[in-house]
């Protein structure tokens, strides 16, 4: 946590110097094929990657919100469908499990002189990925609506619900809260946040044995249920992008989504009155805990194992050029929190730094975490629809996880 802060402070004073290493940009041989998630910050990053690769490069990028579902199949093939993948602390473990991304030490040594140390994702002494941004989910609110009703900015989820109910009662909005509750990865993530906010642990320490069916799990689920009650009734079909659209349509006064959402919510498109009224706030804590109910994420890139060395080098150079581009970072200071040397954080960085300060946990990078996340994705729906008790839903999660983890060889 402190490291992030230090890095951010440090980046105010330092300047970007390409030391005497090779310049990464202007790739002429090898092809660059990148698989990435779909949101505005990644688009900004990819524009920079493309311009770094240069006009002669064989460059293509596939943006997909289903990137996590595609990655294993796409990178397992030999030669792989993509030469590089944008990864996070959530998705890198899956690729590491199957040895689908390669160590980057030699490439970093050759080109990476402008990299900061905290950009290097080092696992067991080898660099497996290069991070370029930090992200977290936190609260967003509409200042004028809260002011009109005399509501203070909520700092706990209990206050969020009270505020949402007050807005609902005032008749200003029918469904004032929004979160990405789409059944699937998003819903799983909401539970992960809330469970960690209650101080829960997903696994019995040091083992792959799951333990979420406990008082903290039930409390987390009940809190999610109360949030969905002040959300749009279609909440099970809304992912982050859909929530952002609701926000931009003025249907929502409080939401808990990614910091990188600022790139599209605070741009010059859409209703400028709503933009001017949009404020960012720290992620709330829950159930009397001190930790915010959110997780810290880094986003970076990894290079496929099953691609030729020439393609790997070409992809690494272009991506590294963007991941060390101070100009890009400072031209888009609010798009996210860049980890790039020489970046001056914009006004929107506060909530993420705050989360790090208050002890938010990074998303667990455990080899079997994605199996649990998958089980959470599908087994919580019935509870949120009121067809099942919280204990039953959590028992189902555990049972679904055990079946999958057994088949995968973790148990």
């Amino acid at each position: 946590m402190k490291k992030l802060l230090i890095a951010l402070l440090f980046s105010f004073v330092s300047t970007s110097v390409y030391a005497d290493g090779h310049s990464p940009c202007g790739v002429t041989d090898g092809s660059i094929k990148i698989l990435a998630n779909e949101f505005t910050t990644y688009r900004i990053f990819m524009d920079e990657v493309k311009s770094c690769a240069g006009p002669d490069a064989d460059f293509s990028v596939t943006h997909s919100v289903d990137h996590n579902k595609l990655q294993v199949a796409a990178l397992s093939a030999n030669p792989a469908e993509f030469s590089a993948k944008l990864v996070t602390n959530g998705s890198i473990t899956t690729l590491m499990n199957d040895n689908l991304i390669r160590p980057l030490d030699d490439l970093v040594a050759k080109y990476g002189s402008a990299l900061q140390d905290n950009q290097k994702i080092v696992i067991d002494g080898k660099i497996y990925a290069v991070a370029f941004m930090a992200n977290a989910q936190h609260l967003w609110y509409r200042e004028s609506i809260l002011n009109d009703l005399g509501i203070a900015v909520p700092s706990t989820y209990e206050e969020v619900i009270a505020a949402a109910e007050k807005i609902k009662a005032s008749g200003k909005m029918a469904n004032p809260y929004a979160g990405a509750f789409k059944s699937g990865w998003n819903l799983g993530q909401e539970f992960v946040n809330m469970y960690l906010g209650h101080g829960g642990e997903f696994f019995k320490s040091g083992t792959a044995e799951v333990s979420v069916n406990n008082a903290k799990g039930v409390a987390a689920l009940n809190m999610l249920k109360r949030l969905t009650e002040v959300s749009n009734p279609d909440f099970l079909t809304q992912d982050t992008n859909a929530v952002k659209e609701e926000w931009e349509s003025g249907n929502v006064a409080l939401m808990h989504i990614w910091n990188s959402g600022a790139a599209s919510l605070l741009d010059d498109e859409g209703d400028q009155a709503i933009k001017a009224d949009t404020r960012l706030a720290p992620s709330p804590s829950v159930g009397g805990g001190s930790k915010p109910a959110t997780t810290l994420w880094w986003d970076g890139f990894g290079i496929a194992t099953n691609t030729s060395d020439a393609n790997a080098e070409a992809s690494f150079r272009a991506l590294l050029g963007a991941a060390t581009s101070t100009e890009m970072a400072n031209a888009n200071p609010n798009a996210t929190i860049w980890l790039i040397d020489g970046y001056s954080p914009g006004d929107t960085a506060g909530p993420v730094v705050d989360a790090a300060n208050r002890g938010a946990t990074p998303y667990p990078s455990l080899p079997y975490m994605s199996l649990l996340h998958g089980a959470l994705s599908t087994e919580l729906v019935e509870f949120l629809q009121g067809n099942e008790s919280a204990e039953k839903a959590l028992a189902d999660v555990e049972a679904a996880y055990v079946a999958k983890a057994t088949e995968q060889g973790f148990l």
């Binding site: 499990n97 880094w298 994605s370 099942e388 057994t406």
Partner: protein, 342 residues
């Protein structure tokens, strides 16, 4: 046709079926008997922007070695078929001994993923197929009677739902039934309930999917019925007209008996198609409340981690068994008709 001619006539398609359908089924079956080799875990130091700590990771070298020794994975026999995500034998046994009433037992049963998916798949099949046959027939009869100049455009309009890619069709409808979409807000207006949303409850989502299924499948029934209508012999119809039979009587006693075998064919194809329902579930983002067997396979192969080949293979085998069971009555019927015609 002499057997020899028939053999050479059938040989190319038979070979293609063997290569592209037979062999993959056999390979899926073998895969379904295996599970992944054991994952060897190790503790390593991990450093990222948030600091360094010791964490568990898969020991790639050791695990790769195991994988090379057993490329198919560990042999698990029919274990995958019986686990909780498939037939769930032990869970069912436990539920049977522990539940106090049949209702409670059924409740537990339908909470298991496979049976939940089976329930939706069968409901979808049997709710969609009959209306498709009836509607297809009515539409074919109607189109058959309109004037020639209008026929072309009408037929085009009628088969449009079939031309639209299922995924795109369901996405278009998904946005139309959104609370702020044209259909969604109309329904809210109709029932005078501003909070009514077709996407919010399981029952309404199921109904939406079923209506979509009927909309999408009717053109197929229409095309087949329409073609068959062109073969209805005119002599008995003219004779019936002379005898003073009404339009209804002519349809009931001459057209319908003539189209009977065609209807069997349509039911067969529709049941088979609807048993594999997948795209509307994805398009309507209904994964949470409506899972089909095909969706389970899709989910095993496209979840956020390693592809669960064993699990997907087992579900595929069970789907094939399901299709076979479903089609048996229709096939027996066809076979009998075939025998009597001889």
């Amino acid at each position: 046709m002499p057997h020899r001619t028939f053999f050479w006539f059938f040989f190319p398609s038979g070979l293609a079926m063997l290569l592209f359908i037979g062999l993959p089924i056999i390979s899926s079956f073998f895969q379904s008997l295996h599970i992944e080799p054991e994952q060897i875990l190790m503790e390593v130091e991990k450093c990222d922007p948030f600091g360094c700590k010791t964490e568990t990771k898969v020991d790639i070298e050791a695990t790769t070695k195991l994988q090379e020794e057993q490329p198919l994975g560990r042999f698990n026999g029919l274990g995958t078929y019986g686990d909780r995500n498939h037939l769930a034998f032990s869970e069912i046994k436990e539920a049977w001994t522990n539940s106090l009433s049949i209702a409670e037992f059924i409740d537990i049963l339908l909470n298991l993923p496979f049976y939940k998916a089976l329930l939706f798949t069968l409901t979808f099949c049997f709710a969609v197929t009959p209306p498709v046959v009836v509607l297809g027939f009515i539409v074919a009869l109607s189109v058959n009677t309109i004037t020639k100049s209008l026929k072309g455009p009408t037929i085009f309009g009628v088969i449009l739902p079939m031309i639209v890619t299922p995924l795109i069709g369901s996405l278009v409808l998904f946005w139309m039934i959104d609370a702020k979409g044209i259909l969604g807000s109309f329904i809210q207006f109709l029932f005078d309930d501003p909070n009514l949303s077709l996407k919010s409850s399981s029952q309404l989502t199921w109904i939406t999917l079923i209506i979509y299924g009927i909309w999408h499948n009717t053109p197929f029934a229409f095309v087949v019925f329409y073609a068959a209508l062109q073969t209805v012999p005119q002599d008995p119809i003219e004779a019936a007209i002379i005898d003073g039979a009404s339009r209804y009587e002519r349809v009931r006693h001459i057209v319908i008996p003539h189209l009977y075998p065609v209807a069997t064919f349509i039911i067969l194809i529709c049941l088979m198609d609807n048993f594999r329902v997948l795209e509307p579930i994805i398009g309507f983002a209904a994964e949470g409340v409506a899972q089909s067997l095909s969706w389970m396979i899709y989910n095993d192969l496209r979840s956020e981690n390693k592809m669960l080949f064993g699990s997907a293979g087992a579900t595929s085998m069970l789907t094939i068994v399901g299709v076979a069971v479903l089609l048996t009555p229709v096939l027996i019927r066809t076979w009998r008709e075939f025998r009597t015609e001889r």
